[in-house]
């Protein structure tokens, strides 16, 4: 395999590519993570005292998420735990929303015989992503705001009397997040469904299968790798999103990443922030892996 790799890329190019990948993975991903991981087991100290006599290994930062500060009358850190759980459920909700929204699109794109219309459709899906994330989030804020397009429209046709607070109800947030990751859901599914032999669908139709059964027995099992890789990405990214919750989130609903951000930035407490970030990462991994196990998806399938 490796010899082939060097044959196709040449020695210089081959080593260059390997080094770049190595640099990317080790320097940009693994090392900072290890640093953070290590940091999360240390107390919050001013930089000169780090590694000094006052430094020691501790689980305090992790304990804090569950029990809060010492002498907390509640016994549990209710505020942060609630944010934590809400973030994960909301991310799961966004993922499911995207799945239901994108599966029909991916199916249509994948099974259509191509042609100009489909290419335009794909382009229409991609173009909005040329606009940066913050702008898109603000655009959603405008659309869903009190005097936004939707409220104005509904009131104009007298469907409602006073504007609905989409921001407080988190509708804007879900819509914004869902929209942000639509392509990540569509493309993996589209890729797989495109390679599904149309004759299989016709054979099932010939044997009398109704459309829902064709999806249940033939298309979905076949598209499973694409579905799981789409869901994994959307779930991980929504749970880890910061800009959209910051801009579109209701005043009373914090996203867990916002807590992390506060610890890093406002609080200046890097060990505590690291612990929170790592808990989020681990929770996401555990959820994704258990869901994959539940639906019998292999890790190898995801890369397809």
């Amino acid at each position: 395999m490796l010899t082939n790799y060097f044959k196709t890329n040449g020695m210089v190019m081959g080593w260059g590519l390997l080094l770049l990948v190595f640099f990317w993975i080790v320097i940009l991903i693994i090392l900072p993570q290890i640093y953070m991981f290590n940091l999360s087991f240390h107390p919050h100290l001013p930089p000169p005292e780090m590694g000094g006599p006052k430094d020691f290994l501790t689980l305090e930062n992790y304990r804090y998420l569950v029990f809060g500060a010492d002498g907390n009358p509640d016994g549990y850190n209710k505020v942060d735990l609630l944010v934590f759980i809400r973030t994960l459920t909301a991310a799961a909700f966004v993922t499911i929303l995207d799945l239901f929204l994108c599966y029909p699109i991916a199916y249509y794109l994948g099974q259509s015989t191509g042609g100009g219309f489909v290419r335009i459709l794909v382009l229409l899906l991609i173009i909005p992503y040329w606009i940066n994330e913050i702008l898109r989030a603000f655009a959603f804020k405008i659309i869903f705001g009190d005097s936004g397009v939707i409220n104005e429209f509904l009131m104009f046709f007298s469907v409602i009397d006073s504007p609905i607070d989409f921001i407080r109800a988190n509708v804007a947030l879900y819509a914004g997040l869902g929209y942000a990751y639509i392509l990540l859901m569509i493309f993996p599914m589209y890729n797989v469904i495109e390679s599904l032999d149309r004759n299989q669908i016709e054979a099932a139709r010939d044997m009398g299968a109704p459309w829902w059964m064709i999806h249940k027995r033939i298309v979905i099992p076949y598209a499973k790798p694409g579905i799981s890789s789409g869901c994994t990405m959307v779930f991980m990214l929504s749970a880890g999103a910061l800009a959209a919750p910051q801009i579109l989130g209701g005043p009373s609903s914090l996203w867990f990443t916002q807590l992390v951000y506060q610890w890093f930035n406002t609080g200046g407490n890097w060990p505590q922030a690291s612990a929170y970030a790592i808990i989020l990462l681990l929770a996401c991994l555990v959820i994704v892996l258990s869901v994959m196990k539940l639906f019998k998806v292999n890790m190898g399938d995801i890369g397809k």
Binding site: A203, A204, R205, M207, G208
Partner: protein, 370 residues
């Protein structure tokens, strides 16, 4: 054997936009027949089959199955089952689930399905393979699974789209016999598509020979071979020596043709060409390699051809002699091997003869490209 369900195509046209894929097809298929559509690649065979199974609507004309007009009925509402050119087995379902998918659709219990699957697996001699995935089977086994899956739906008409084309030669010959036997056993109408004339001739009760978008002739394998209606059929089905020329005279169902390079040849006007030839018309005479013999003294001049041997090819039961006639006209003669001491040497000068009833003449027209 007329218990099966008949299929009729009446004045049927199929178009893709402006492109005419099938032009005015008229076919009657007897119930219980093994009927083949034979034609080159791209001539519209699959298109016809898809129209019969309901995946395409004809632009014009009717499709009747068992006398009922199929217009507006989807594939699931027709008593047909289609076996696709690539089989289209479901790769993620076990063999037995594949076979009984049509029962699953109807809501049959797993026990019932398994029982039926085992019966069908017995029939196709794959008894213990039900729990495998299709990818674990050989080409011929997949083939049989596809047939069992189609039969499980208990169709009145089974449609097969070049089902043997993916198999290697030996297996293909074996599957011909097997398919024919299955058809006899279940007694339903088979409509079979192929570009392989050997398949069409050996298996079918009747054959429709297709040129691009049109059906040239319908008849038994023997009549298509011995009594071709058009120059296309004569050149497509089996090997043939062709001589171009003009009709000089016609009498008693035979025409004397003045050929361009081989002199005057007498040949029988085929059933399909009767009434379509007049004196002076461009015509084509076809003589099979096995219709040529070494001339006897009594042979008449208009059933005689002079030619030089170029080379011979020994095939065991027979041998082929490749010849060159006047003005470089190439011919092939096929002789039964009777243990002659030696084959004809290159350069040998021969006089050949043929029986005027075995030579056929049709109006000049399109030829099948090799």
């Amino acid at each position: 054997m007329s218990s099966g369900v008949a299929v009729d195509l009446q004045d049927m046209w199929i178009k893709f936009g402006d492109f005419v894929a099938v032009r005015d097809a008229n076919v009657h298929i007897n119930g219980g027949d093994f009927f083949s559509f034979l034609g080159g690649s791209g001539c519209g065979k699959t298109t016809i089959l898809r129209a019969v199974s309901g995946f395409l609507e004809p632009a014009d004309g009717k499709i009747l199955i068992g006398g009922n007009d199929m217009k507006g009925k989807g594939p699931n509402e027709r008593p047909t089952a289609l076996i696709f050119q690539n089989l289209a087995l479901f790769p993620l379902m076990k063999v037995w689930e594949n076979i009984t998918f049509s029962m699953e659709v109807r809501g049959a219990s797993a026990g019932e399905r398994r029982k039926r699957a085992d019966e069908l697996l017995d029939m196709i001699a794959l008894s213990d393979q039900g729990d495998k995935l299709p990818s674990e089977l050989s080409g011929g086994q997949k083939q049989r699974v596809a047939i069992a899956r189609a039969l499980c739906a208990e169709p009145d008409v089974l449609l097969l789209d070049e089902p043997l084309s993916a198999l290697d030669l030996g297996l293909r010959h074996h599957m011909r016999t097997e398919l024919r036997e299955i058809q006899k056993r279940v007694g339903i109408t088979f409509i079979y598509i192929t570009h392989d004339q050997g398949e069409a001739l050996t298996m079918s009760d009747n054959v429709a020979v297709m040129r691009t978008a049109v059906i040239d002739q319908i008849g038994s394998g023997k009549s298509v071979y011995d009594d071709p209606s058009t120059s296309f059929v004569a050149s497509f089905v089996g090997m043939n020596n062709m001589f171009r020329g003009k009709v000089k005279s016609i009498s008693k169902g035979q025409a004397l043709v003045e050929t361009n390079r081989t002199g005057n040849l007498l040949a029988r006007i085929t059933t399909g060409a009767t009434g379509k030839l007049a004196v002076g018309d461009d015509a084509m005479v076809f003589i099979r390699p096995e219709g040529l013999h070494i001339a006897e003294k009594s042979a008449k001049s208009n059933t005689r051809i002079k030619a030089n041997v170029r080379h011979s090819e020994f095939e065991g039961t027979s041998y082929n002699v490749f010849l060159e006639g006047d003005a470089g006209k190439e011919m092939k003669m096929s002789l039964v091997n009777r243990g002659e001491a030696r084959l004809y040497e290159p350069g040998a000068e021969l006089t050949l003869q043929f029986d005027a009833t075995q030579a056929v003449v049709v109006p000049a027209g399109e030829l099948a490209s090799e």
